[in-house]
Each structure stands twice: as structure tokens, then as C-alpha cells.
Amino acid sequence: MSEIPWWAGEGLWRKVAVWVTAGSFVVLIFLTFDSIEAISAGSQRVPAYSVINQQVRYEFDAARNIQKPVIGGGAPLFGQTLDEAEAEALVTLGKKTVQAKNCMNCHTLLGNGAYYAPDLTKAWLDPAWGSETARETLMLGFLMDPTANARTYGTGRRMPKLDITEQEARGVIAFLKWMSSIDTNGFPYNFKSLAQESRS
């Protein structure tokens, strides 16, 4: 055994394995505390749920050289201004509906999920809705009956009917509007937003 050089010994590498693992994990814990604070609802990166009362735009930021969400003036969803608790309840209904209908196994959210249907990160800002004024009604109609209001762009892929109620659909739209306000470090890149009248 004395022929084994020190750097090839089992004992040395056992210690290295333990210390490297523990060290990496400790760093991850510290970063996790910092990150969770930075992305709590109401932070600079992830706005409060009541952001659905305001206009959300996605604009180029010259200093960071990427696009970022810009929160504008009042633009209440479905014309109703909600307080923080009501807004959270509506977005929560939307998020639970998104999970209960298994949206993520066709779509991506923040780029994560399946690739059979478009990403939903900026669905609220997509030019597919035509105009700011038509958007809410079109989204509501589409979610409640995606078969009749199919948007296949020539692929033949239709969203199935998922028995989404009107209240659930409103929740999903609130969730999508709120999600579009999250600062995602410029993802999706080069996104061409729906034309919106600037309200500040």
C-alpha cells in the first residue's frame, strides 16, 4: 500500500468529496435566502399581484441591454380595481387552474414545460390579441371554448376544451397578466409586444 502516492489515496478523496459537497450546499443555501427574498411577490423583480390593476409593458432597457417589464398607469383588469387581497385571490385561482388543467404539458411557463404550444410568459402582451381593447374579451372566449375559437396558425394543433369556467378564465388571465410583469432578465429575447398606448 505504501506505493500509492498521497494524491491517489482513498482517504484524501473521501475528505475532498465531503468538503466540496458541504461547501457547495452551504453556498446554495445562502444564495437561496437571497434569491427567495428577491423574487417574493411585491419585490422589484416580481411585482405584487395588484399589478393587474396597472398597465404592463415590455420595453428595451439600454443600460441592461435587454427588454424588461415596465409598470404603467391604471389599467384595471376587466375594468375592476382590486385590492391586494382580492388580486392575490384571483391570481391564485388562475395559478391553480393552470396546474389543474395541466397547461404545462403543452405550453411553457417562463420557458419551462412542453413544446407543443407557445410559451405563456408574455402571453398577455402577445400581438395575437390584436388590440388592447379586444384582448380581455378574446382571451376569455378562447379559454372557455378553445375548440370553437381555435388559433392553429395552420398547424392543425388545437387546444382541447378543458371545462374552464368564466371565473377560472378570469383568474388565468389575471395570472398571465401578473406573470408578464416579472423581470426575466430579457427572456424571451427580441419579443415584439402588442401595441399599447403608453400610460404612466
Partner: protein, 484 residues
């Protein structure tokens, strides 16, 4: 002991339990391929089963069957090696058997609910009883709790058996890894409305399982497998195992950051995630060197040729699928365009197959050899072993073919949808309608069928190899105890 006949009584208790896990794993492997084929076909024929088994359902069953069959393969592998490695009988074997039946019944119920109930209203009840709607960990909450209970029983059995018997380097790494594996699952067991926080913890489960704890678990199985099939020296494989753990956790734990580029998390993750995930291929290179060097230094004189071939396939598959394919799109400057495209699907196919399916199949062959009374499975098998060789070739060609087809689709999508069109829905569909994309989907389908053919041959081979064989397995440990 009779040679060449199925003789489960000749196995130890842990091994008999392992066989049960392997049988279910194989069935779920079949289900994974079947539902993958359906989902793949829906890209080409979107009306196929529309409103009956939609893409979302097929895709969910496809990825869930994969995760579960791999876990079954891992649990089975550990039970298979447990008594040999610890030198004593499995502690809590009855409890282990009970956990197997409970877990299998739960998996059955979850799959039936996925297929026949599919979705529910946007309430907590749906998330508890039907579907949690979070990719890879869709299992409803009741099943999460059952999974944790069964994994804890498994962990207890493994730790208690080593404590009663003897510890080894492999045993120590294995037990600590199982603590992490079970603990991390808890990070995915709560609801939050904040999608950024949701995905933060969701990646703790997915990434720290697949790119850290699973990798170390298969490192343990690989170490044991090389001792088993080649008679490699324990001191050498254990030293390698420690080096791999250091490199794997050293790169993989903070490599988690490559999932935190675009979900709302701070910009420092671009640097941390990019740097550490760029290092993630390093341990996988080490594993290739290790496996090939050991095989070569023993002149490829193995006790089990199919198992050794699959172990080598694992080393290369892990390096290319997880390492190279991951590295190719892990830096944020590239990931900005490739994130959420077929690029990820390409990487996913080669990585899961290369890193995990392969090593499970290797252990299946070791188990089959044991279950037939320790039969000869080296060179000069009947028919020159054509079935295992063709199964190996077809499965690898099939998965590599799908990977390359999806890679082409991913490049096209990154270019057309993202770089040119600006990531709108119109841009997405412009990418999906492009002839390059459509051709890639056809090629993916063709190689999907090749994979299925390979699977069919594999099952046939596993049920027949060694049957009627009269020669005993080659002894690769001349003059020493098998686990000394």
C-alpha cells in the same frame, strides 16, 4: 443450484425483491415508449385522439413513466447489491415487500387517474387528488406522501442493513445520497401562487435529483457493477467514486443556477449557473475514462458481456447526453434562444437514456444472470448473442436518431421563432410550420419506432438469455471473495 432455469429461490431476499422492482420497471419502460410514440405522432397528426388522449396527457404519462421506471430500476439495483455489499440479510425485508406493493398500487392508481380523469377544476382538491400540473412531478399530493413513505422505508432498510452488516465506501456514499434524494423531494411538495418561487423549488427537486443525486446513485451502481462484471479492484473503484462525487456535487449543486437564468431570479445566476454548469461534463468524462480503462485493463474478460456493454453505453451516453448536450446550450448567451425549445427535448432524450436507462438495463442483465442460477453470459452465447447485441444497437441508434432530429428542430426553432421572429405566438408557429421542423419531426418518429423495436428485442432477450445454458458464469474474482 440448477443452471439455466428460472430459479428465484436461489437468490437472496434483497434480490428477490429487486426482481419485482425490475419487472415493473420494464413494464413502465414500455409505457414510456408507447405514450412517447403517441405524443410524437400528434406532432404529425394533431387530430389523433384529440379530446380523448390529448398531447398533454400522453406527454405527462411519457415523462412520468420514465421517472418512475428509473426510480424502480435504482431501488431494485440497490436491493440487488445490498446483501452482497453488506454481507448480511436485508433488514426489514417484509416491510420492503409491503412498500413495493403499496408503491406499485399507488403508481397504478395515479396512471389510471391521469388517463381517465386527466384534469379537474382549479381547486386544491384537484392538486391533492388528480394532478399537480407541475412537469415531472405531476403526481397528486396524496401520492407524494405515499412516495415519501415508501422511499423512507427503502432508506431505512438500506441504512439498517449496512449498520447490521459491514460498511464500505460504496455503502457510505449510497446512504448519504439516499438521504439527499428523499429530502429533496420535499422541496416539491407545497403549493405557491408565486410562479417564480414555485419554479425555484421545483428545480431543487428536478435538477438536484437528475443532475446530482441520481448521478451519484448510478456512480455507486457503476462502481459495484465494475467489481461484479470485471472483478475490478475495490480500492480503485471507490477512489474513483469519491473523485466523481466531489466533481459531481462540486459542479452540479451550483450548476442548478442554469435553471435560474429566466424565471425571475437575480442576474448573478447568469454567472454562477453558467460557470458551474459548464463544469458539469467534467465528472462524466472521468466516468468514461474509468469505465473504459477498467474494461481494457481486464482485457474485456467480463462475467456478463451484455451488462458490461450497457455499462460502457452508460458511460458514453451519460457523457454525451448529459455532459455534451447539456453543455452545448447551458451558457446563458445561448440558452436565451434555446430555453423552452426542442433543444431541451433533444438533451432530455439523450441524457435520460444515456445516463439512466442504460445502467438500469445493465443491472437487469446482471439480475437475469443471477435468476438463472449464475449462468455463463460471456462470449460465445447461442446465436453469438445476436438478440442482446441487436437490442443494444437498435435502442442506441433509435435514441441517438431522435436526439439528432430534435436537435435540428431545436436549432430551427431558436433561429426562426426566437432570433428572427421575436418569440411571439406567430413566431412560434412560423417555426413549427417550417419544413425543416416538420422534417425533423418525421425523422424523430422513424427513430422512435426503431427504439420500440429495440425495446421489444430487449424484453425478448431478457426473458430468454441464459435459458438452457449449462455453463457456469466466468469467475472474475479468482482467489478472492466476490466482495472483498
Amino acid at each position: 443450484m440448477s443452471i439455466g432455469e428460472n430459479n428465484l429461490q436461489g437468490l437472496n431476499g434483497g434480490q428477490r425483491l429487486a426482481v419485482k422492482y425490475f419487472v415493473v420497471a420494464l413494464a413502465l419502460f414500455g409505457a414510456q415508449l408507447l405514450f412517447g410514440l403517441l405524443a410524437g405522432l400528434q406532432y404529425l397528426k394533431p387530430d389523433l385522439l384529440y379530446g380523448v388522449l390529448d398531447f398533454s396527457v400522453n406527454r405527462m404519462v411519457h415523462i412520468n413513466a420514465m421517472v418512475v421506471w428509473m426510480l424502480y430500476g435504482f431501488i431494485g439495483s440497490v436491493y440487488w447489491l445490498l446483501e452482497d455489499e453488506s454481507g448480511t440479510n436485508v433488514v426489514g425485508l417484509k416491510l420492503g415487500n409491503l412498500a413495493f406493493w403499496v408503491l406499485t398500487a399507488a403508481v397504478g392508481v395515479v396512471v389510471l387517474v391521469y388517463l381517465f380523469v386527466q384534469i379537474g377544476p382549479g381547486t386544491d382538491t384537484t392538486l391533492w387528488l388528480i394532478n399537480e400540473g407541475r412537469e415531472y412531478i405531476e403526481a397528486p399530493r396524496w401520492a407524494d406522501i405515499g412516495i415519501v413513505a415508501c422511499v423512507l422505508i427503502f432508506f431505512f432498510n438500506v441504512a439498517a442493513t449496512f449498520m447490521k452488516g459491514r460498511w464500505s465506501g460504496i455503502a457510505g456514499v449510497l446512504v448519504l445520497d439516499l438521504v439527499a434524494l428523499a429530502g429533496l423531494y420535499l422541496a416539491g411538495m407545497f403549493y405557491t401562487t408565486n410562479v417564480s418561487v414555485d419554479q425555484y423549488w421545483w428545480w431543487w427537486v428536478i435538477h438536484l435529483w437528475v443532475e446530482a443525486t441520481w448521478e451519484v446513485l448510478v456512480g455507486c451502481i457503476m462502481a459495484w457493477g465494475l467489481i461484479q462484471t470485471l472483478g475490478a479492484k475495490r480500492r480503485i473503484v471507490q477512489t474513483w467514486l469519491y473523485i466523481e462525487v466531489a466533481l459531481m456535487f462540486g459542479s452540479g449543486i451550483l450548476g442548478l443556477g442554469h435553471h435560474y437564468f429566466w424565471i425571475g431570479t437575480p442576474e448573478y445566476w447568469l454567472t454562477i449557473g453558467g460557470f458551474f454548469s459548464a463544469l458539469e461534463p467534467v465528472p462524466l468524462v472521468a466516468m468514461v475514462v474509468h469505465a473504459v480503462y477498467d474494461a481494457g485493463s481486464h482485457g474485456f474478460r467480463s462475467s456478463n458481456h451484455p451488462a458490461l456493454a450497457w455499462l460502457i453505453a452508460h458511460a458514453f451516453g451519460n457523457f454525451f447526453g448529459a455532459g455534451v448536450w447539456g453543455f452545448m446550450h447551458t451558457l446563458p448567451q445561448i440558452n436565451l434562444y434555446t430555453h423552452g425549445t426542442q433543444w431541451s427535448a433533444s438533451h432530455g432524450h439523450l441524457a435520460f437514456f444515456g445516463a439512466y436507462a442504460t445502467i438500469n438495463i445493465a443491472v437487469f442483465y446482471i439480475a437475469v444472470q443471477g435468476a438463472r442460477g449464475g449462468v455463463w453470459m460471456s462470449a460465445h452465447l447461442p446465436g453469438n448473442g445476436w438478440k442482446w447485441k441487436w437490442a443494444l444497437a437498435l435502442l442506441n441508434v433509435g435514441v441517438v436518431g431522435m436526439t439528432v432530429a430534435l436537435l435540428i428542430a431545436g436549432y430551427e426553432q431558436s433561429f426562426v421563432e426566437r432570433a428572427i421572429e421575436g418569440s411571439t405566438w406567430a413566431g412560434y408557429f412560423a417555426g413549427q410550420n417550417h419544413p425543416w421542423f416538420l422534417q425533423a419531426m418525421h425523422w424523430r418518429m422513424i427513430f422512435g419506432w426503431v427504439t420500440l423495436l429495440g425495446f421489444a428485442l430487449l424484453v425478448w432477450d431478457l426473458f430468454t438469455i441464459g435459458a438452457g445454458e449449462t455453463r457456469e458464469a466466468r469467475d472474475v474474482h479468482p482467489g478472492e471473495a466476490a466482495t472483498a
